[in-house]
């Protein structure tokens, strides 16, 4: 009996694969819908993508726009095989890749093989536009270089000259630390030391005491997600935020929401977008909030903008032919609620202004989700840095 139910379920699952007509423009979204990152992008991002399609009018070049959505469950094999399947069988025209750099690199290989424009929105790994770049990749929203650059430059220039890093002990943590350390030293600051903390440590207090012992002015948190939140909580509890300036190298609005302003106040961080920047962002945020009951993160706005940008490029090119659309994408100016002045560089980075923020104190916060004040708007060229030359498409 149980067995039969299982088999019927399975058959139903296979049959349900959405059918697209050849005349449709098919936009896909492969993201973490059920795991660690599902609040930062996840189902909310899918919603933002659909909002963009609705705002565009639901059709382009007279063709219906349809969407495909899948959960990669943070497994690169699932992400890559879904992508390949959609490209071969469902006439996929464009794919947005959500969180998780590992999955996105695997999907980028498929994008190159199947020649499908691919917009990673949410993975931080800068390698997507360096070693792992493709002619079809447009890296949206942010990367680790921009985040570390923004925060570190601003703090060093503001007088925070000596740094100590609390670094998640894996490739990603070292990348964040190195990117920030370079900026600190380039601006006349000094790195006094670093402690490498195992990922998902249950307690950060002893590492924080070591940071405090260094006598540095700034504590750079080269970690993300739950580790970032827990280290920030402990820093607050042990009074370390009183003697050292905390600087987050990768933090999202959802992290600050989890922490609460009492704990997070004074923290410096960099973001590609914030909901409370201007009337346009606020209007989008309100629409989004009505649907999802949360404020959008930079990933959510990035999904909206990426979808819109692709559709505009298709309209301008007059075709969905991948190479022609990519050429148009690299030619056009991007101006919407996400960014007033973005453009796609030859290596695939969508260059746009970044915002260096400081978290407000509970007193300064006047309404729900009023979390950040803008310290500095950093021009895209400065934030994303020069072309590295690691991507064969974009020699130095």
């Amino acid at each position: 009996m149980k067995l039969r139910a299982l088999i019927t379920g399975l058959a139903a699952a296979c049959a349900l694969a959405p059918t697209a007509r050849a005349a449709d423009v098919v936009i896909g979204d492969i993201d973490d819908l059920s795991g660690l990152y599902s609040d930062v992008s996840g189902p909310g991002a899918t919603e933002a993508m659909k909002m963009a399609i609705a705002d565009f009018g639901g059709t382009v070049l007279g063709r219906r726009i349809v969407t495909l959505v899948a959960d990669h469950q943070n497994k690169p094999d699932i992400g890559a095989s879904k992508f390949r399947e959609w490209a071969d069988q469902n006439g996929l025209n464009m794919l947005i890749g959500g969180s998780n750099t590992g999955v996105n690199i695997a999907m980028a290989k498929v994008a190159a093989a199947k020649k499908v424009p691919f917009f990673p929105v949410g993975p931080g790994g800068a390698s997507l536009t360096n070693e792992d770049c493709t002619a079809y990749t447009v890296h949206y929203a942010y990367d680790t270089t921009a985040l570390a650059n923004g925060t570190a430059t601003t703090i060093v220039k503001g007088g925070g000259k000596t740094w100590f890093f609390l670094t998640a002990d894996y490739a990603f943590g070292s990348q964040l630390q190195n990117a920030a350390a370079k900026v600190v030293e380039a601006n006349g600051g000094k790195v006094l030391g670093a402690v490498r903390v195992p990922l998902s440590a249950s307690d950060f207090s002893s590492f924080l005491l070591q940071a405090q012992g260094s006598g540095a002015q700034v504590i750079g948190l080269a970690n993300a997600g739950e580790d970032f939140v827990n280290s920030m909580k402990a820093a607050n509890e042990f009074g370390i935020t009183k003697s050292m300036k905390p600087a987050a190298l990768l933090a999202f609005l959802t992290n600050i929401h989890s922490l609460g302003l009492e704990t997070a106040q004074g923290l410096y961080l960099t973001t590609g977008w914030y909901w409370d920047l201007n009337d346009q962002t606020r209007a989008f945020a309100k629409r989004y909030f009505d649907k999802m009951k949360k404020m959008p993160t930079m990933d959510h706005a990035g999904y909206y903008s990426a979808t819109l940008t692709y559709l505009k490029a298709v309209k301008a090119a007059g075709t969905t032919d991948s190479d022609k659309v990519m050429a148009e994408l690299k030619r056009m100016k991007i101006s919407d609620l996400f960014t007033p002045n973005g453009y796609v560089r030859r290596d695939g980075v969508m260059v746009h202004d970044m915002y260096v923020m400081q978290v407000k104190s509970p007193k300064e916060s006047r309404y729900a989700w009023d979390y950040y004040k803008v310290v500095r708007v950093m021009p895209g060229e400065e934030a994303f840095g020069p072309v590295t030359g690691l991507c064969p498409l974009a020699p130095k």
């Binding site: 059920s34 795991g35 660690l36 990152y37 599902s38 609040d39 930062v40 996840g42 002990d169 402690v195 490498r196 903390v197 195992p198 990922l199 998902s200 440590a201 249950s202 307690d203 207090s205 002893s206 590492f207 005491l209 070591q210 012992g213 739950e226 939140v229 827990n230 909580k233 402990a234 509890e237 042990f238 009074g239 959802t254 992290n255 929401h257 989890s258 922490l259 609460g260 009492e262 704990t263």
Partner: protein, 294 residues
């Protein structure tokens, strides 16, 4: 400045205290595992999930029902313990008499289901639980700043661990429990309702996990995954202490907290694997654990 092995005394003392705090959590969690294993021969893989459930019970209590920290410290374990009793009656009971491996597999599935549900209901980013008013602020110990709440964690978990040990080793109830481990049918013949005893034990062990969950809620992010990595560490702790030994669970929990604390200073990169290395060493020297009997 006084130094120990080249490290300043103040650093060593500070890590000692912090290690004790973490050790207290390990001790509480491994104690619950040991109690359940001792009587039921079930390795409770869902322990970490119940720990998270305890923290969420406190959080929902505060945000939705207006129940504060102090009542939650008692109520959350009771609620979660009751869930444990239900799980035992509905699921684990059916595996009675089978290979204990099935209990491990069942609770593994249960853990996935509980953590998945928490994730679906509360989302992935987690939430913060405020430190109770009375325990805010810090003690200045001279060599370090110790938040009052961390001091409270040490005290209360030692009291609970000792209390549990006392009940099991020194009271009539405990004697009955231990008798049920040795020879359940005989005890049943004496008129003791063994199935109820077993269900209550599982509930009790799970309640200890939930208690640890409430206790940790103010210091770490409350999330659905908060217990999933911890449970493997606690497994190693229990193997080191000797499975089923109450004293072994508590002592090795505290000891490991300390060892881990020192590793964080000497070789921080290894601080999350030191537990497993020690487990391997203990297995080579004493396969039955530090306090285990053949």
């Amino acid at each position: 400045m006084t130094t120990i092995f080249g490290y300043p005394l103040v650093v060593v003392l500070g890590q000692l205290v912090l290690g004790l705090v973490n050790g207290s959590f390990y001790a509480l969690l491994s104690l619950g595992l040991a109690v359940i294993f001792g009587l039921m021969r079930v390795v409770n893989f869902a322990h970490g999930a119940f720990y998270a459930l305890g923290a969420y019970a406190a959080l929902v209590g505060l945000n939705v029902l207006g129940v504060g920290y102090w009542p939650a410290l008692l109520l959350a374990p009771l609620v979660v313990g009751a869930l444990g009793v239900v799980a035992e009656r509905l699921l684990l009971r059916r595996l009675h008499g089978l290979d204990p491996l099935y209990g491990l597999l069942l609770t593994f599935g249960l853990a996935l289901a509980i953590e998945g549900t928490l994730h679906q209901v509360f989302g992935s980013s987690g939430e913060s639980y405020p430190v109770p008013e009375a325990l805010r602020g810090v003690f200045n110990l001279g060599f370090m700043i110790l938040p009052r709440y961390r001091a409270w964690v040490i005290v209360v978990s030692l009291v609970v661990c000792f209390g549990t040990w006392f009940v099991i080793e020194r009271t009539r109830l405990g004697a009955t429990l231990r008798a049920a481990t040795e020879n359940a049918p005989l005890l049943q013949a004496f008129g003791v309702n063994v199935p109820v005893l077993v269900a209550a034990t599982y509930g009790g062990g799970v309640a200890l996990a939930a208690f640890a969950g409430v206790l940790s809620a103010p210091v770490i992010l409350v999330s659905s995954q908060m217990g999933s990595a911890l449970v493997i560490v606690v497994f190693a702790v229990v193997v080191i202490g000797g499975m089923g030994s109450i004293l072994g669970a508590v002592v090795s929990g505290l000891l490991l907290g300390l060892v881990e604390g020192f590793t964080k200073v000497i070789y921080p990169e290894a601080s999350n694997i030191v537990v497993f290395v020690i487990m391997a060493l203990v297995l080579i020297v004493r396969p039955h654990g530090l306090f285990g009997r053949e």
